[in-house]
Protein backbone atom coordinates (compact mmCIF):
# COMPACT_ATOMS: atom_id res chain seq x y z
CA UNK A 1 0.00 0.00 0.00
CA UNK A 2 2.81 2.35 0.92
CA UNK A 3 4.52 1.53 -2.34
CA UNK A 4 1.31 2.16 -4.22
CA UNK A 5 0.88 5.57 -2.68
CA UNK A 6 4.47 6.51 -3.32
CA UNK A 7 4.08 5.49 -6.96
CA UNK A 8 0.99 7.61 -7.39
CA UNK A 9 2.49 10.57 -5.61
CA UNK A 10 5.73 10.50 -7.57
CA UNK A 11 3.99 10.20 -10.91
CA UNK A 12 1.48 12.87 -10.06
CA UNK A 13 4.12 15.31 -8.91
CA UNK A 14 6.33 14.57 -11.86
CA UNK A 15 3.60 15.03 -14.43
CA UNK A 16 2.24 18.19 -12.87
CA UNK A 17 5.70 19.74 -12.62
CA UNK A 18 6.41 18.87 -16.23
CA UNK A 19 3.01 20.12 -17.30
CA UNK A 20 3.60 23.40 -15.57
CA UNK A 21 7.06 23.73 -17.02
CA UNK A 22 5.82 23.09 -20.53
CA UNK A 23 2.97 25.57 -20.15
CA UNK A 24 5.45 28.20 -19.05
CA UNK A 25 7.83 27.59 -21.96
CA UNK A 26 4.93 27.47 -24.39
CA UNK A 27 3.49 30.78 -23.31
CA UNK A 28 6.95 32.30 -23.26
CA UNK A 29 7.70 31.33 -26.85
CA UNK A 30 4.27 31.57 -28.39
CA UNK A 31 4.54 35.05 -29.85
CA UNK A 32 8.02 34.46 -31.09
CA UNK A 33 7.05 31.22 -32.80
CA UNK A 34 4.16 32.85 -34.58
CA UNK A 35 6.43 35.62 -35.79
CA UNK A 36 8.96 33.06 -36.95
CA UNK A 37 6.32 31.21 -38.93
CA UNK A 38 5.21 34.43 -40.55
CA UNK A 39 8.72 35.60 -41.17
CA UNK A 40 10.20 32.43 -42.62
CA UNK A 41 7.26 30.84 -44.37
CA UNK A 42 4.58 33.25 -45.28
CA UNK A 43 6.28 36.63 -45.56
CA UNK A 44 8.62 35.69 -48.45
CA UNK A 45 5.76 34.08 -50.35
CA UNK A 46 3.47 37.03 -49.87
CA UNK A 47 6.26 39.39 -50.83
CA UNK A 48 6.68 37.44 -54.06
CA UNK A 49 2.97 37.32 -54.80
CA UNK A 50 2.27 41.00 -54.12
CA UNK A 51 5.59 42.73 -54.87
CA UNK A 52 3.92 46.08 -55.38
CA UNK A 53 1.34 46.01 -52.62
CA UNK A 54 0.56 49.45 -51.29
CA UNK A 55 -0.36 48.15 -47.86
CA UNK A 56 1.25 45.70 -45.43
CA UNK A 57 -0.55 42.36 -45.91
CA UNK A 58 1.23 40.84 -42.94
CA UNK A 59 0.13 43.48 -40.51
CA UNK A 60 -3.46 43.58 -41.78
CA UNK A 61 -3.97 39.81 -41.65
CA UNK A 62 -7.23 38.54 -40.22
CA UNK A 63 -8.79 35.16 -39.60
CA UNK A 64 -12.04 33.81 -40.93
CA UNK A 65 -13.67 31.06 -38.96
CA UNK A 66 -16.50 28.94 -40.30
CA UNK A 67 -17.79 25.71 -38.90
CA UNK A 68 -15.06 23.55 -40.40
CA UNK A 69 -12.18 25.80 -41.45
CA UNK A 70 -10.11 28.45 -39.86
CA UNK A 71 -8.29 30.49 -42.44
CA UNK A 72 -5.70 33.22 -42.11
CA UNK A 73 -6.21 35.81 -44.85
CA UNK A 74 -3.59 38.32 -45.98
CA UNK A 75 -5.38 41.24 -47.70
CA UNK A 76 -3.52 43.41 -50.13
CA UNK A 77 -4.17 46.43 -52.30
CA UNK A 78 -2.46 46.11 -55.64
CA UNK A 79 -0.71 48.86 -57.53
CA UNK A 80 -3.79 49.54 -59.64
CA UNK A 81 -5.93 49.91 -56.52
CA UNK A 82 -7.81 46.62 -56.86
CA UNK A 83 -8.15 44.45 -53.81
CA UNK A 84 -6.55 41.03 -53.50
CA UNK A 85 -6.12 38.39 -50.86
CA UNK A 86 -3.68 35.58 -50.18
CA UNK A 87 -4.09 32.45 -48.12
CA UNK A 88 -2.36 29.11 -47.68
CA UNK A 89 -3.60 25.63 -48.57
CA UNK A 90 -2.02 22.20 -48.38
CA UNK A 91 -1.69 19.39 -50.88
CA UNK A 92 -0.25 15.97 -50.28
CA UNK A 93 2.97 15.05 -52.11
CA UNK A 94 5.95 12.71 -52.08
CA UNK A 95 7.61 13.85 -48.87
CA UNK A 96 4.56 15.09 -46.96
CA UNK A 97 2.17 18.01 -47.38
CA UNK A 98 3.07 20.91 -49.65
CA UNK A 99 1.99 24.35 -48.49
CA UNK A 100 0.86 26.65 -51.26
CA UNK A 101 0.25 30.38 -50.81
CA UNK A 102 -2.35 31.48 -53.34
CA UNK A 103 -2.88 35.12 -54.20
CA UNK A 104 -6.28 35.98 -55.74
CA UNK A 105 -7.52 39.21 -57.22
CA UNK A 106 -10.94 39.81 -55.67
CA UNK A 107 -12.33 41.95 -58.46
CA UNK A 108 -11.36 39.78 -61.44
CA UNK A 109 -11.33 36.36 -59.67
CA UNK A 110 -7.96 35.68 -61.23
CA UNK A 111 -4.96 34.13 -59.58
CA UNK A 112 -2.28 36.77 -59.08
CA UNK A 113 0.46 34.30 -58.35
CA UNK A 114 1.18 31.24 -56.25
CA UNK A 115 4.21 30.27 -54.19
CA UNK A 116 5.24 27.11 -52.43
CA UNK A 117 5.75 27.83 -48.73
CA UNK A 118 6.64 24.54 -47.09
CA UNK A 119 7.61 21.21 -48.51
CA UNK A 120 9.66 18.17 -47.64
CA UNK A 121 10.45 17.10 -51.17
CA UNK A 122 13.60 15.48 -52.46
CA UNK A 123 16.29 18.11 -53.08
CA UNK A 124 16.82 18.64 -56.77
CA UNK A 125 13.66 16.83 -57.84
CA UNK A 126 10.50 17.82 -56.00
CA UNK A 127 12.13 20.83 -54.37
CA UNK A 128 12.24 22.52 -57.78
CA UNK A 129 8.60 23.47 -57.16
CA UNK A 130 9.88 26.09 -54.76
CA UNK A 131 13.06 27.17 -56.50
CA UNK A 132 12.17 26.93 -60.15
CA UNK A 133 9.43 29.48 -60.76
CA UNK A 134 8.52 28.36 -64.27
CA UNK A 135 6.26 25.70 -62.84
CA UNK A 136 4.29 27.84 -60.38
CA UNK A 137 4.13 30.78 -62.76
CA UNK A 138 1.77 28.69 -64.93
CA UNK A 139 -0.93 29.58 -62.42
CA UNK A 140 -0.56 33.35 -62.82
CA UNK A 141 -3.53 35.00 -64.44
CA UNK A 142 -5.68 31.88 -64.53
CA UNK A 143 -9.37 32.38 -63.88
CA UNK A 144 -10.75 30.72 -60.80
CA UNK A 145 -13.09 28.58 -62.95
CA UNK A 146 -10.11 26.90 -64.60
CA UNK A 147 -9.39 23.26 -63.85
CA UNK A 148 -6.10 23.38 -61.99
CA UNK A 149 -5.46 19.67 -62.38
CA UNK A 150 -2.43 18.39 -64.30
CA UNK A 151 -2.72 17.78 -68.03
CA UNK A 152 -2.62 14.03 -67.58
CA UNK A 153 -5.59 14.43 -65.24
CA UNK A 154 -7.57 16.52 -67.68
CA UNK A 155 -6.51 19.98 -66.48
CA UNK A 156 -4.27 22.70 -67.87
CA UNK A 157 -1.12 22.48 -65.78
CA UNK A 158 2.07 20.95 -67.20
CA UNK A 159 3.79 18.69 -64.71
CA UNK A 160 7.46 19.25 -63.94
CA UNK A 161 9.26 16.45 -65.75
CA UNK A 162 10.50 13.89 -63.28
CA UNK A 163 8.50 15.28 -60.38
CA UNK A 164 4.96 14.22 -61.12
CA UNK A 165 3.91 13.65 -57.55
CA UNK A 166 5.13 17.05 -56.36
CA UNK A 167 3.41 18.71 -59.29
CA UNK A 168 0.25 16.88 -58.41
CA UNK A 169 0.53 18.03 -54.79
CA UNK A 170 0.78 21.64 -55.89
CA UNK A 171 -2.18 21.26 -58.21
CA UNK A 172 -4.24 19.62 -55.46
CA UNK A 173 -3.46 22.53 -53.17
CA UNK A 174 -4.54 24.95 -55.91
CA UNK A 175 -7.80 23.08 -56.47
CA UNK A 176 -8.41 23.20 -52.74
CA UNK A 177 -7.76 26.94 -52.73
CA UNK A 178 -10.34 27.31 -55.46
CA UNK A 179 -12.98 25.49 -53.45
CA UNK A 180 -12.26 27.49 -50.30
CA UNK A 181 -12.31 30.74 -52.23
CA UNK A 182 -15.59 30.00 -53.95
CA UNK A 183 -17.14 29.07 -50.65
CA UNK A 184 -15.80 31.90 -48.54
CA UNK A 185 -15.66 34.79 -50.96
CA UNK A 186 -18.76 36.64 -49.62
CA UNK A 187 -17.43 36.32 -46.09
CA UNK A 188 -13.98 37.58 -47.13
CA UNK A 189 -15.38 40.57 -48.98
CA UNK A 190 -17.54 41.41 -45.98
CA UNK A 191 -14.62 41.29 -43.59
CA UNK A 192 -12.41 43.40 -45.83
CA UNK A 193 -15.07 46.12 -46.02
Amino acid sequence: MREMISMIVVLAVLTSVSGGLLAAVKSGTEVRIENQVLKFQKAPAIQDIFPEATNDPLAERFTITTEDIELQIFPSILADGSKAIAFETKGGAYGGPIGLMVGINLSTDEIVDVRVTTHAETPGIGSRAKEDLSFVSQFSGLKMETNFALKSGGGVIDAMSGATVTSKGVSVAAVQAKEIYQKLKPEIVKQMK
Partner: protein, 202 residues
Protein backbone atom coordinates in the same frame (compact mmCIF):
# COMPACT_ATOMS: atom_id res chain seq x y z
CA UNK B 1 36.67 11.03 -9.69
CA UNK B 2 38.03 13.13 -12.50
CA UNK B 3 39.38 10.01 -14.05
CA UNK B 4 36.05 8.19 -14.04
CA UNK B 5 34.34 11.34 -15.32
CA UNK B 6 36.75 11.42 -18.23
CA UNK B 7 36.24 7.72 -18.79
CA UNK B 8 32.45 8.04 -18.92
CA UNK B 9 32.78 10.99 -21.24
CA UNK B 10 35.23 9.47 -23.71
CA UNK B 11 33.54 6.08 -24.01
CA UNK B 12 30.72 7.74 -25.92
CA UNK B 13 33.18 9.08 -28.47
CA UNK B 14 34.53 5.76 -29.71
CA UNK B 15 34.05 2.65 -27.64
CA UNK B 16 30.28 3.02 -27.36
CA UNK B 17 29.65 5.59 -30.03
CA UNK B 18 26.02 5.50 -31.09
CA UNK B 19 24.72 4.49 -33.53
CA UNK B 20 27.74 2.61 -34.85
CA UNK B 21 28.74 0.72 -31.76
CA UNK B 22 25.47 0.62 -29.90
CA UNK B 23 23.38 0.43 -33.08
CA UNK B 24 20.65 2.32 -31.28
CA UNK B 25 18.60 5.28 -32.36
CA UNK B 26 18.69 4.38 -36.03
CA UNK B 27 15.44 6.13 -36.89
CA UNK B 28 16.77 9.69 -36.65
CA UNK B 29 20.12 8.60 -38.01
CA UNK B 30 18.59 7.33 -41.20
CA UNK B 31 16.02 10.07 -41.50
CA UNK B 32 17.83 13.33 -40.84
CA UNK B 33 21.34 12.79 -42.15
CA UNK B 34 20.62 14.31 -45.52
CA UNK B 35 23.14 17.03 -44.68
CA UNK B 36 25.80 17.78 -42.10
CA UNK B 37 23.71 20.68 -40.85
CA UNK B 38 20.69 18.51 -40.15
CA UNK B 39 22.88 15.94 -38.47
CA UNK B 40 24.45 18.48 -36.16
CA UNK B 41 21.08 20.02 -35.36
CA UNK B 42 19.57 16.67 -34.48
CA UNK B 43 22.67 15.71 -32.55
CA UNK B 44 22.67 18.90 -30.51
CA UNK B 45 18.98 18.55 -29.75
CA UNK B 46 19.49 14.96 -28.66
CA UNK B 47 22.52 15.90 -26.58
CA UNK B 48 20.51 18.59 -24.82
CA UNK B 49 17.75 16.14 -24.00
CA UNK B 50 20.23 13.47 -23.03
CA UNK B 51 22.20 15.63 -20.63
CA UNK B 52 19.20 17.13 -18.87
CA UNK B 53 17.19 13.94 -18.67
CA UNK B 54 20.25 12.08 -17.40
CA UNK B 55 20.80 14.74 -14.78
CA UNK B 56 17.22 14.79 -13.62
CA UNK B 57 16.83 11.04 -13.61
CA UNK B 58 20.07 10.67 -11.72
CA UNK B 59 18.88 13.19 -9.13
CA UNK B 60 15.53 11.47 -8.77
CA UNK B 61 16.89 7.95 -8.96
CA UNK B 62 16.26 7.23 -5.30
CA UNK B 63 12.78 8.69 -5.32
CA UNK B 64 11.37 7.05 -8.42
CA UNK B 65 9.74 3.69 -7.54
CA UNK B 66 11.19 0.99 -9.73
CA UNK B 67 7.80 -0.25 -10.90
CA UNK B 68 6.92 3.00 -12.63
CA UNK B 69 10.44 4.04 -13.57
CA UNK B 70 9.95 3.73 -17.32
CA UNK B 71 6.84 5.90 -17.15
CA UNK B 72 8.73 8.49 -15.11
CA UNK B 73 11.66 8.44 -17.53
CA UNK B 74 9.34 8.97 -20.44
CA UNK B 75 7.64 11.90 -18.73
CA UNK B 76 10.98 13.53 -18.01
CA UNK B 77 12.38 12.90 -21.46
CA UNK B 78 9.19 14.01 -23.17
CA UNK B 79 9.23 17.25 -21.20
CA UNK B 80 12.72 18.07 -22.34
CA UNK B 81 11.97 17.12 -25.91
CA UNK B 82 8.97 19.40 -26.01
CA UNK B 83 11.04 22.20 -24.55
CA UNK B 84 13.68 21.64 -27.23
CA UNK B 85 11.04 21.63 -29.89
CA UNK B 86 9.51 24.88 -28.72
CA UNK B 87 12.90 26.53 -28.36
CA UNK B 88 13.93 25.45 -31.82
CA UNK B 89 10.71 26.75 -33.23
CA UNK B 90 11.29 30.06 -31.53
CA UNK B 91 14.98 30.57 -32.24
CA UNK B 92 16.15 28.31 -35.07
CA UNK B 93 13.02 28.04 -37.13
CA UNK B 94 14.74 27.06 -40.37
CA UNK B 95 16.40 24.10 -38.74
CA UNK B 96 13.10 23.20 -37.14
CA UNK B 97 11.51 23.08 -40.59
CA UNK B 98 14.11 20.56 -41.71
CA UNK B 99 14.13 18.35 -38.65
CA UNK B 100 10.40 18.76 -38.28
CA UNK B 101 8.75 15.57 -37.19
CA UNK B 102 11.94 13.94 -35.97
CA UNK B 103 12.27 16.16 -32.92
CA UNK B 104 9.26 14.68 -31.12
CA UNK B 105 10.67 11.26 -31.96
CA UNK B 106 13.64 11.88 -29.69
CA UNK B 107 11.29 10.77 -26.92
CA UNK B 108 11.33 7.24 -28.20
CA UNK B 109 14.95 7.35 -29.29
CA UNK B 110 16.44 4.26 -27.72
CA UNK B 111 19.65 6.04 -26.88
CA UNK B 112 17.98 8.51 -24.51
CA UNK B 113 15.84 5.93 -22.78
CA UNK B 114 18.70 3.46 -22.88
CA UNK B 115 21.11 5.80 -21.08
CA UNK B 116 18.41 6.68 -18.55
CA UNK B 117 17.76 3.04 -17.77
CA UNK B 118 21.27 1.69 -18.09
CA UNK B 119 23.30 4.52 -16.64
CA UNK B 120 21.59 7.53 -15.09
CA UNK B 121 19.29 5.52 -12.84
CA UNK B 122 22.32 3.85 -11.27
CA UNK B 123 24.97 6.57 -11.12
CA UNK B 124 25.63 9.94 -9.55
CA UNK B 125 24.53 13.16 -11.28
CA UNK B 126 28.07 14.19 -12.24
CA UNK B 127 28.80 10.87 -13.91
CA UNK B 128 25.41 10.90 -15.58
CA UNK B 129 26.09 14.31 -17.09
CA UNK B 130 29.47 13.13 -18.34
CA UNK B 131 27.85 10.06 -19.81
CA UNK B 132 25.04 12.02 -21.43
CA UNK B 133 27.47 14.57 -22.83
CA UNK B 134 29.83 11.91 -24.16
CA UNK B 135 27.12 9.85 -25.77
CA UNK B 136 25.41 12.97 -27.08
CA UNK B 137 28.58 14.33 -28.66
CA UNK B 138 29.38 10.92 -30.08
CA UNK B 139 25.89 10.78 -31.55
CA UNK B 140 26.33 14.28 -32.99
CA UNK B 141 29.66 13.30 -34.54
CA UNK B 142 28.20 10.17 -36.09
CA UNK B 143 25.26 12.04 -37.50
CA UNK B 144 27.52 14.76 -38.83
CA UNK B 145 29.92 12.31 -40.44
CA UNK B 146 27.17 10.22 -42.02
CA UNK B 147 25.54 13.49 -43.06
CA UNK B 148 28.82 14.62 -44.61
CA UNK B 149 29.19 11.42 -46.60
CA UNK B 150 25.61 11.51 -47.82
CA UNK B 151 25.54 15.22 -48.53
CA UNK B 152 28.84 15.16 -50.35
CA UNK B 153 27.97 12.17 -52.54
CA UNK B 154 24.32 13.00 -52.93
CA UNK B 155 24.45 16.72 -53.41
CA UNK B 156 28.08 17.62 -53.99
CA UNK B 157 28.16 20.04 -51.08
CA UNK B 158 29.03 20.15 -47.42
CA UNK B 159 26.94 22.55 -45.40
CA UNK B 160 27.91 22.97 -41.78
CA UNK B 161 25.70 25.81 -40.67
CA UNK B 162 23.49 28.54 -41.98
CA UNK B 163 22.57 27.20 -45.38
CA UNK B 164 25.69 28.21 -47.29
CA UNK B 165 27.92 25.28 -48.24
CA UNK B 166 31.49 25.52 -47.04
CA UNK B 167 32.47 23.19 -49.80
CA UNK B 168 30.91 22.73 -53.17
CA UNK B 169 31.79 20.62 -56.18
CA UNK B 170 31.80 22.33 -59.55
CA UNK B 171 28.77 22.55 -61.78
CA UNK B 172 30.04 19.58 -63.76
CA UNK B 173 29.64 17.30 -60.77
CA UNK B 174 26.54 15.22 -61.14
CA UNK B 175 25.64 14.23 -57.59
CA UNK B 176 24.87 10.65 -56.64
CA UNK B 177 21.31 11.50 -55.65
CA UNK B 178 20.67 8.03 -54.36
CA UNK B 179 22.66 8.78 -51.24
CA UNK B 180 20.25 11.54 -50.28
CA UNK B 181 17.29 9.20 -50.59
CA UNK B 182 16.24 6.97 -47.70
CA UNK B 183 17.80 3.76 -49.07
CA UNK B 184 21.08 5.65 -49.45
CA UNK B 185 21.04 6.16 -45.69
CA UNK B 186 21.02 2.41 -45.15
CA UNK B 187 23.79 1.84 -47.64
CA UNK B 188 25.84 4.71 -46.22
CA UNK B 189 25.37 3.51 -42.66
CA UNK B 190 26.24 -0.04 -43.67
CA UNK B 191 29.43 1.04 -45.42
CA UNK B 192 30.48 3.22 -42.48
CA UNK B 193 29.84 0.37 -40.05
CA UNK B 194 31.95 -1.83 -42.30
CA UNK B 195 34.77 0.73 -42.22
CA UNK B 196 34.56 1.09 -38.44
CA UNK B 197 34.76 -2.66 -38.03
CA UNK B 198 37.74 -2.82 -40.37
CA UNK B 199 39.52 -0.17 -38.30
CA UNK B 200 38.41 -1.59 -34.98
CA UNK B 201 39.54 -5.11 -35.86
CA UNK B 202 43.25 -4.28 -35.65
Amino acid sequence: MAQSLAKEFTKGLWAEIPPFRLVLGLCPVLAVTKSVENGIGMGVATTFVLVFSNLLISLLRNIIPSKVRIACFIVIIATFVTIVELLMQAYTYELFLKLGIFIPLIVVNCIVLGRAEAFASKNSPALSIADGLGIGIGFTLSLASLGAVREFLGNGTITVWGGNPIFEMGANFLPFKFMIEAPGAFVGLGLMLCMMNLIGKK
